[in-house]
């Protein structure tokens, strides 16, 4: 009837941040898959990490007269005007992956995880694991100024407060990359007495953790036992490391944000059901106890 017929010729614009990481590539892949399954014509625009390109893309979508817009915003601020334009043109906007600093009547809903919460989960796990023993933590931050870096740091520190035994001794940016993760970890190891002072590593993403694990190994220590490793994202490669006992825990950030978004959109198209303003995805904690090999096999094909 009406619902399926309209889905077939539904045109949805998707403004993606870019392809700066494997996780992002997986999100793009999954969004395209989900659109295909539902017979949606997806217009994809890659902004190459630039907000101005995203705004341009949104304006182009509006000029084309798409039926709905998915937006994975590169930064929280600065969207009011263009969202207002979309609203004026009666095009619903769904935010993916991150929210924006704008009045919430400018968009239909936001499908995101809670970045602060992710950091919190990681911090809690660490606090529970060391169970009161003193522990010096080194932190690999994401790109300076990016919202995951700020929020994941905040959440982690929140979880740590009240645990005087846990102390962040060094914190540097690893730019979310393996190479920098490895390089920065090398310097942490040198700076903290060859790593003997370090009890745990918290990395804002798995890629930096994977790089750091290599640095720890090359320094002659055992990651996962000598130094605990906890990170965020749950990309396939970290499960391999967990299977090898080299990483301890990761917090999942699901790349499938589009599924729930399309569901909400379909419901809205069908009978005007307004979704809640925030559809939060689960921030699931995985540890070595969760059969990492199996999860690795399951995730491998998703385009990470």
């Amino acid at each position: 009837t009406f619902g399926s017929a309209s889905a077939a010729d539904l045109v949805v614009g998707f403004s993606q941040i870019g392809s700066e990481s494997g996780w992002r590539a997986a999100e793009t892949t999954l969004t395209k898959q989900q659109a295909q399954e539902r017979g949606i014509d997806l217009k994809f625009a890659d902004a190459q990490q630039k907000q101005e390109n995203q705004i341009k893309a949104l304006r182009s979508f509006i000029a084309q007269g798409v039926n709905a817009i998915l937006l994975a915003p590169v930064v929280a601020t600065g969207w009011d005007e263009v969202l207002q334009e979309a609203k004026d043109a009666e095009i619903p906007v769904i935010l993916l992956d991150r929210t924006v600093d704008a009045s919430d009547d400018l968009y239909m809903t936001a499908v995101t995880s809670d970045l602060v919460h992710e950091g919190n989960v990681a911090g809690k796990w660490l606090a529970d694991t060391v169970a009161g023993k003193p522990c010096n933590i080194v932190e690999l931050q994401g790109t300076t100024g990016s919202s995951p870096a700020i929020d994941r740091k905040k959440g982690f520190e929140q979880a740590l407060s009240g645990h005087d035994n846990l102390k962040i001794v060094r914190s540097q940016t690893g730019d979310f990359t393996r190479t920098k993760g490895k390089e920065v970890m090398e310097s942490f190891l040198k700076a903290e007495d060859g790593g003997k002072n370090i009890c745990a590593l918290y990395a804002h993403n798995d890629d930096m953790a994977v790089g750091a694990i290599q640095a720890i190994k090359e320094a002659g220590l055992k990651p996962g036992t000598d130094i605990l490793v906890v990170s965020i994202d749950a990309v396939p490669d970290i499960f391999q490391a967990m299977a090898a006992g080299e990483a301890n825990a990761t917090v999942e950030l699901t790349p499938n944000m589009a599924g729930p978004a399309f569901d909400a959109l379909a419901a809205f198209q069908k009978d005007g059901t307004k979704p809640p303003k925030w559809i939060q995805t689960e921030s699931k904690l995985y540890t070595q106890a969760d059969d990492p090999t199996k999860i690795y096999e399951a995730k491998k094909g998703l385009g990470y």
């Binding site: 614009g13 993606q16 870019g18 392809s19 590539a25 793009t28 997806l42 217009k43 994809f44 625009a45 890659d46 190459q48 990490q49 630039k50 907000q51 101005e52 390109n53 705004i55 341009k56 893309a57 304006r59 182009s60 979508f61 509006i62 000029a63 084309q64 007269g65 930064v75 929280a76 601020t77 600065g78 969207w79 009011d80 005007e81 600093d101 790109t143 300076t144 100024g145 990016s146 919202s147 700020i150």
Partner: protein, 322 residues
């Protein structure tokens, strides 16, 4: 036609042709909405590119503009967030800072005889570093005055708008053209591009001109930063990364020689429009993956430069035979 107008003419011809081609495929591209967007969305880039045109005409380069834009945005956000200063006063203050910043770079380039590439590269690190130090968070600007300014636009028939910032860009281009071709300073800029040593022997005040050029570039980068902050109503230290490369590309597509001494401010305007057109086309198409987007942009850049070379080459030859 004079040979010096050839590259500019080539650029205009290419732009009109490609616009027609795009419009044949997606008629919506002809709507006033898209045309209005082209101006608004590229306003900050266009303003910065005017400054870059002067720098390149003089044989230099300014890699710092992207960072200066980010710095300006963060500075405005922080100031407007924490003090009661009126935005206009804050604008004046930040323009003063960025103009001085440019002037200092120009002075270093001239007096210490260091290459512009390196001085402005250090400037690029420094300006972004300053932005980080001011704030790593992105800060929304909620001042009511911003709302007032954004509400200023001229509505075109068909839903398009010429916004304040789009209009500002046009104004800056107009003034830029006037400065380049109708002032002594403008001729001095071309003179530097023709050869610093000769220009000096001919009595061009090389030091003053160099400093003024980079100060102008700093001023326009600051203005571009203000426009960017109006555009997004926010300040963010990671904003406008790589804008300098976009600006350089626009200048070169516009027919200005990177070696300096030859080119037009008006050409840069066409260069900006061509870049905007490429992006609009890619979004309208909407089927390219991230990597094909990059490859296509690179290829189109290549094709534009090649066509320009081709047109210039062919008409040079015809001129000789004529």
């Amino acid at each position: 036609m004079k040979p010096k107008y050839l590259p500019l003419t080539a650029t205009i011809v290419i732009f009109v042709l490609s616009y027609a081609l795009c419009a044949a495929q997606y008629p919506n591209i002809l709507s006033t909405r898209v045309i209005g967007n082209l101006l608004t969305d590229n306003a900050f880039l266009g303003i910065a590119a005017v400054g870059m045109t002067f720098v390149i005409l003089s044989g230099g380069i300014d890699l710092s503009i992207g960072s200066v834009i980010a710095f300006t945005g963060v500075f405005l956000a922080v100031v407007l967030d924490n003090t009661a200063i009126h935005p206009l006063a804050a604008f004046a203050l930040v323009l003063l800072i960025t103009t001085l910043f440019g002037a200092v770079m120009g002075a270093i380039i001239h007096y210490l005889e260091m290459p512009a590439f390196i001085v402005t590269l250090a400037g690029m690190f420094l300006a972004r570093g300053m932005a980080f130090v001011l704030s790593i968070d992105s800060i929304a600007i909620k001042h009511p005055f911003y709302g007032t300014m954004k509400a200023l636009y001229y509505k075109l028939p068909g839903g398009g708008r010429i916004t304040l910032i789009g209009g500002l860009m046009l104004l800056v281009f107009a003034i830029g053209i006037l400065i380049a071709h109708r002032t002594r300073f403008g001729t001095d800029v071309y003179a530097l591009g023709g050869g610093t040593a000769t220009a000096k022997l001919m009595g061009v005040p090389v030091g003053r001109t160099t400093i003024l050029i980079y100060a102008l570039s700093g001023l326009l980068a600051g203005l571009s930063g203000i426009v960017f902050s109006l555009y997004t109503s926010a300040g963010y230290s990671l904003a406008a990364v790589g804008v300098e490369l976009d600006a350089i590309t626009a200048v070169v597509i516009g027919g200005t020689l990177l070696t300096g001494g030859s080119g037009f401010v008006a050409g840069t305007f066409i260069g900006i429009l061509i870049q905007g057109l490429i992006q609009t086309y890619i979004t309208f198409d909407g089927s390219l993956s991230s990597w094909w987007t990059k490859i296509l942009i690179g290829l189109l850049l290549f094709v534009f430069i090649l066509m320009q070379k081709g047109i210039v080459y062919v008409s040079r030859r015809e001129q000789r035979h004529a």
